[in-house]
């Protein structure tokens, strides 16, 4: 196994299963992807390919009946798969923040948006303080005691005021008028406004990594353009890395530096934007790109024959082989290794998992 690949996030051989009555769903089957600080990685693929499960795994938010059965998720110097829950809580929302597809559903419906953002900021403070307290005392047994309990009360008041100030600044940054917005409830917001509130909340803790799970899929194209522009300028300012999950190739092409293409629980191809779009290697990537309709180019669309496999009993070997136009005899026997594609600049990081490109064939 080679060494560390990305200095912010390095996911290797990640496996996730969901136990259901119908059988075990092998949702992730050895996912490989990585990114450096400040980079933007787009994860693209069709419904059910494991994009969102990958994102949730990074946050360790996979819930019963799902579980991570193998692999590692290195975030800076720590393996998120192995960390205990209390340490994770200090990372979630603080170092890694997340925004979702349905912003209105992700907000608390009975709490004003200003208060929600403030709560989030305070929460980050408390968990950061409690982790520090644990570290200082060196006693895990005192973990339960509130870390700020012995602080003078006045301190908390000034902290709250500063949290409110941060909240108002953040609302301003995302293009909302705080005087008008902070006292609204989520149902009073439009989809675009709610997504702005989510972004304000996520970025209020100045995270190192922002996970955006289909952030614009529920929005109109004009609002999508607004949100993408906003995200673009905000993360450029703060040098925040973004893991963008999307099924819209246009969004990935215009927002990301690197692309990971997923199919049925595997990253089948990974590389720079140019490598993936101009020189796609994996037959699935090629098929996917040809299936996207483009304005101004009305040549015939190409579709991928067959359907997405059932992940309870996935096809053996390469999971794409039943639909692949370049199928070879070895394809249904073993899973192809995820290897550098070769022949390109190293900065492209072009990797592919396909027997057509394996050197020791």
């Amino acid at each position: 196994m080679q060494g560390r690949r990305g200095d912010l996030l390095d996911i290797s051989r990640l496996r996730v299963v969901f136990d259901t009555y119908a059988g075990q769903v092998k949702a992730l089957n050895g996912v490989e992807l990585w990114m450096n600080h400040g980079e933007r990685l787009g994860v693209v693929g069709e419904t059910g390919c494991g994009k969102s499960v990958t994102a949730l795994s990074v946050m360790r938010l996979i819930e019963e009946p799902g579980r991570i059965t193998g692999g590692s998720i290195l975030f800076e110097d720590r393996d998120l798969v192995l960390l205990p829950e209390n340490v994770l809580n200090a990372i979630r929302g603080k170092d890694i923040a997340m925004i979702f597809q349905e912003p209105v559903a992700a907000l608390n419906p009975v709490m004003k948006v200003g208060a929600q953002i403030v709560e989030n900021i305070e929460c980050q403070r408390k968990s950061a303080a409690s982790v520090q307290a644990v570290r200082k005392d060196g006693q895990a047994s005192r973990r339960g005691a509130p870390a700020s309990g012995n602080r003078p009360q006045g301190r908390v008041g000034t902290q709250r005021i500063s949290s409110i100030q941060i909240m108002r600044d953040m609302l301003g940054h995302v293009g909302l008028d705080w005087q008008r917005t902070e006292n609204l409830y989520p149902h009073e917001l439009s989809g675009g406004m709610a997504q702005r509130v989510m972004i304000a909340m996520a970025l209020s803790s100045r995270p190192k990594l922002l996970i955006a799970d289909e952030p614009t899929s529920a929005l109109d194209v004009t609002i999508q353009a607004q949100i993408l522009n906003l995200l673009n300028s905000l993360v450029r300012e703060t040098q925040t890395a973004v893991l963008l999950i999307t099924h819209a190739m246009g969004v990935a092409a215009q927002f990301c530096d690197f692309i990971a293409v997923m199919y049925a629980g595997n990253v089948v191809e990974y590389g720079s934007l140019q490598a993936i779009f101009n020189n796609p290697l994996h037959p699935y990537t090629k098929g996917l790109l040809r299936a996207v309709p483009k304005i101004g180019k009305t040549d015939e669309l190409q579709s991928i024959p067959g359907i997405v496999p059932d992940l309870i009993a996935p096809p053996g070997g390469c999971r794409f082989h039943p639909r692949c136009p370049h199928r070879r005899p070895e394809c249904d026997k073993a899973q192809p290794r995820f290897e550098p594609a070769g022949g390109e600049a190293e900065a492209d990081r072009h990797h592919v998992a396909c027997f057509l490109y394996q050197r020791d064939r």
Partner: protein, 331 residues
């Protein structure tokens, strides 16, 4: 001259005149109703054997327009002429006979199929109503139509939940086609599907149109789908058609600032293509309290004083190319 107009008239399958649909909303039981202007004075015609695309943001009234055309909801005003017959004047009995000729395929293949009916029943129901057929004949026709949309005979006795999204949309297409309609309203037929499945369905719809001489009204928010499918396009904003013309008129000779910004906000799926990223600010206003004058003026980068005061008319810039703007682009 008269001869050409007559021929043109014969080419037209659907003619909509001043169509209007208002929905009354009340704040409470006693309050005076306010009106949502979902479709407000829409005029257009659809030529035989073409695809008429309707595009706009959510809340622009696209779907309502599609349903009003089919009289699935009753219009508040205006007329729809379907092949020389005024649909609005038909009684229930007469309308039922027309239903066979115009069908709808809706967006969500998960909700549009009855969950407790097998495919044979779903598709055969229309046949039973409109044709007096023996059960063998129904069987035969259902089988034929299933093969035509890429499903197999053995799918006849399965329930909708046993199919994937793409397959369900095929069932919905089969159900519409089995009655041999002339006109189909496609209401976001592929928005719930993945791109690779979307490609298959769109290709199939194109082939079916060619083989059966169908006419489509395609409602979608996806401009790339419109570009792939449509012959003529209407762009809707707040219940009104703001620009209408051939596909090339709309995409290459765009006249209305809203249409231009809508096209520019689509991120092109190729990194080599520069995305102008010109942004349409603000959001679509409430259709209850529509802005004065031109409905687009609060968001329009070119708005002048007159735009807030006077409503522009949908005027013909070039033959067949209409725009509702005081200051159309490229003129």
């Amino acid at each position: 001259m008269q001869a050409t107009t007559e021929r043109e008239n014969r080419d037209i399958l659907i003619q909509a005149n001043h169509l209007k649909k208002l929905f009354a909303v009340k704040k409470n039981f006693y309050s005076r109703p306010l009106y949502v202007k979902a479709v407000d004075d829409c005029d257009f015609s659809i030529r035989k054997n073409t695809v008429f695309g309707i595009v706009g943001e959510s809340g622009s009234g696209k779907t309502t327009l599609g349903r009003v055309i089919l009289r699935l909801i009753e219009a508040t005003g205006g007329a729809v002429v379907f092949d020389d017959t005024d649909l609005m004047s038909l009684s229930g009995q007469e309308l039922r006979l027309f239903r066979r000729r115009m069908q709808i395929i809706s967006q969500d293949p998960y909700n549009s199929l009855h969950p407790r009916k097998v495919v044979k029943k779903l598709i055969g129901e229309g046949l039973k109503i409109h044709f007096q057929l023996s059960s063998q004949e129904i069987d035969e026709r259902v089988k034929n139509i299933l093969t035509l949309v890429g499903l197999r005979e053995e799918h006849m006795y399965r329930y909708p939940h046993e199919f994937s999204g793409g397959q369900r949309q095929r069932i919905a297409i089969a159900r519409a086609l089995v009655l041999k309609p002339e006109f189909i309203v496609l209401d976001e037929p592929t928005s719930a599907l993945d791109v690779s499945v979307q490609a298959i369905i769109l290709k199939m719809l194109k082939e079916l149109k060619r083989d059966f001489a169908l006419t489509y009204m395609l409602i979608t928010h996806d401009l790339a789908v419109i570009d792939y499918m449509a012959d003529d396009v209407a762009v809707m904003y707040l219940g009104q058609i703001v620009e209408m013309g051939s596909k090339d008129d709309i995409f290459s000779r765009t006249a209305h600032p809203y249409a231009r910004l809508l096209i520019d906000s689509v991120p092109p799926p190729a990194p080599s293509e520069h995305w102008s990223g010109k942004i349409l600010s603000g959001e679509i206003p409430s259709p209850i309290h529509v802005p004065s004058g031109c409905r687009f003026h609060p968001r329009c980068p070119q708005a002048k004083d007159i735009c807030a005061k006077e409503e522009p008319v949908l005027s013909e810039l070039q033959p067949g190319h209409f725009a509702k703007c005081h200051f159309p682009l490229n003129s």
